[in-house]
């Protein structure tokens, strides 16, 4: 069965999108025999966010993986925003936390900091996400919510223009959600943009909404 998509927000024409925007045109995703979605088009300008909702299996995660370059689209095209003053173009926070439980919290973040040439930012970012007290603790000792915070810190240290967040609030407590909202607002205020997925509509200030209807 072919999946469909619908949008509840006004979408700009992808062809005329500015260079600091994410422009998606007629994107389709097929897994095996099944089309998860077809003809998805939207623009996420710099400084804004798009919330993608939809039931389980509607292709939200696949959409993000395509935009991250981790999965090939069956059809259509997309153009990530230009990097501008940011270190990288795309940052990705997936379902899994990318946390090594045998390394300490500090070692986990330092590794990504090295790759992003941002080692000095390790401690300040751990403070921002509220993990500075656990710096020397093996990441395996953290709770699921704290590991999610560590995953968020791995996104923050990369300093990328486009954030792709796959159900970022999973396992976060209210404090963690507040940190996430704070960081999203900070990111948007610097001209960054974000695509966030969630199975249900969540509180996101000034965000466009897009619904993948699924089968």
């Amino acid at each position: 069965m072919v999946g469909t998509s619908k949008t509840s927000a006004h979408m700009t024409d992808p062809a005329g999108a500015s260079p600091d925007a994410l422009a998606v045109t007629n994107l389709s995703c097929v897994r095996g025999e099944r089309a998860l979605f077809t003809g998805v088009s939207f623009v996420v300008p710099g400084g804004s966010a798009l919330l993608v909702t939809g039931p389980n299996g509607s292709g939200k995660s696949s959409l993000l993986r395509i935009l991250a370059g981790l999965l090939d689209a069956a059809d259509g095209s997309y153009r990530p925003p230009e990097r501008g003053a940011f270190t990288r173009s795309v940052g990705y926070l997936g379902h899994a936390n990318s946390v090594k439980i045998r390394l300490t919290v500090w070692e986990n973040l330092r590794f990504w900091g090295r790759l992003a040439h941002a080692e000095p930012a390790v401690e300040p970012i751990l403070q921002r996400v509220g993990l500075d007290r656990f710096m020397d603790m093996p990441a395996g000792w953290l709770s699921a919510g704290q590991q999610r915070r560590l995953a968020l810190s791995q996104l923050l240290i990369v300093d990328s223009r486009l954030w792709l967040l796959d159900e970022p609030a999973a396992n976060l407590d209210s404090g963690g959600e507040a940190v996430l909202q704070q960081e999203l607002a900070r990111h948007r205020s610097t001209g960054g943009c974000a695509v966030v997925t969630s199975p249900t509509d969540i509180e996101m200030t000034d965000a466009q909404r897009f619904e993948l209807a699924g089968q």
């Binding site: 993986r65 991250a68 370059g69 981790l70 999965l71 090939d72 795309v90 990705y92 997936g94 379902h95 899994a96 936390n97 990318s98 946390v99 090594k100 439980i101 045998r102 390394l103 070692e107 590794f111 990504w112 090295r114 790759l115 992003a116 040439h117 791995q154 990369v158």
Partner: protein, 221 residues
């Protein structure tokens, strides 16, 4: 270069924090070498004749034991996605992973070569050629093994399948590695065998990143 160094250092740290698995690999090498004289008998003539081939075959099998730890843990915890996003290219990631695997499997076999040679009753003049051949040839084993590890990354307990895929590809390395040591022991010129062994490693160095990249793409789509 920063990427390769960071990935290799992190992988080494992770291998060492799970050192029990590694000790299992090194012990397999040592115990298999020690058991050979027990099963074949203590006749020094027979032992020294089969010693080069036995050492190579055991090193080959032992290096397959840890393939499961090359990509599967990163696939499981999601960090493979981020590594691919950060890597200058997937080819570089495959090289870095292969190098880290060689440092914890191939290199220890080179260090253990004198012990293996003595345990197998090899003449002392065969120790250096055995260590040299392992030094030249084992990087090819790790690089080819990395491709198999990439192909089986999403599979639970994919290490055995990886070994089954990889072992047939490593037969030339086994043949020329054994011949290089045997020819030296027989007093013949073994330079050509060492050269071919080196050529295999260089070919693996050139081709494994492309094969590994294709494998990662195939399993992730």
């Amino acid at each position: 270069m920063t990427f390769v160094r960071a990935v290799v250092e992190r992988d080494l740290k992770l291998y060492m924090r799970g050192v029990v698995d590694l000790i299992g690999v090194w012990m397999f090498f040592g115990i298999a070498i020690a058991m050979l004289p027990l099963s074949i008998g203590p006749d020094p003539d027979i032992l020294s004749r089969i010693a080069p081939g036995a050492a190579w075959a055991i090193a080959l099998l032992a290096s397959m034991l840890s393939l499961e730890r090359v990509f599967a843990p990163d696939q499981l915890d999601g960090s493979l996605d981020l590594l691919l996003l950060h890597a200058p290219s997937a080819h570089v990631l495959v090289l870095a992973k292969g190098f880290a695997h060689w440092l914890v499997t191939g290199l220890p076999f080179v260090v253990l070569a004198p012990v293996a040679a003595i345990a197998l009753g090899m003449e002392l003049r065969g120790v250096l050629p055995l260590a040299g051949a392992l030094l030249i040839g084992t990087p090819a084993l790790s690089l080819i093994g990395t491709v198999g590890a990439a192909l089986t990354a999403p599979l639970r307990r994919g290490g055995i399948l990886a070994a089954l895929i990889v072992l047939p590809q490593t037969i030339p390395v086994l043949i020329f590695g054994t011949a290089a040591v045997s020819e030296t022991l027989m007093g013949r010129d073994s330079g050509a065998y060492f050269s071919v062994l080196g050529a295999f490693t260089l070919a693996a160095l050139a081709l494994a990143p492309y094969a590994g990249n294709a494998a990662l793409r195939a399993v992730r789509s």
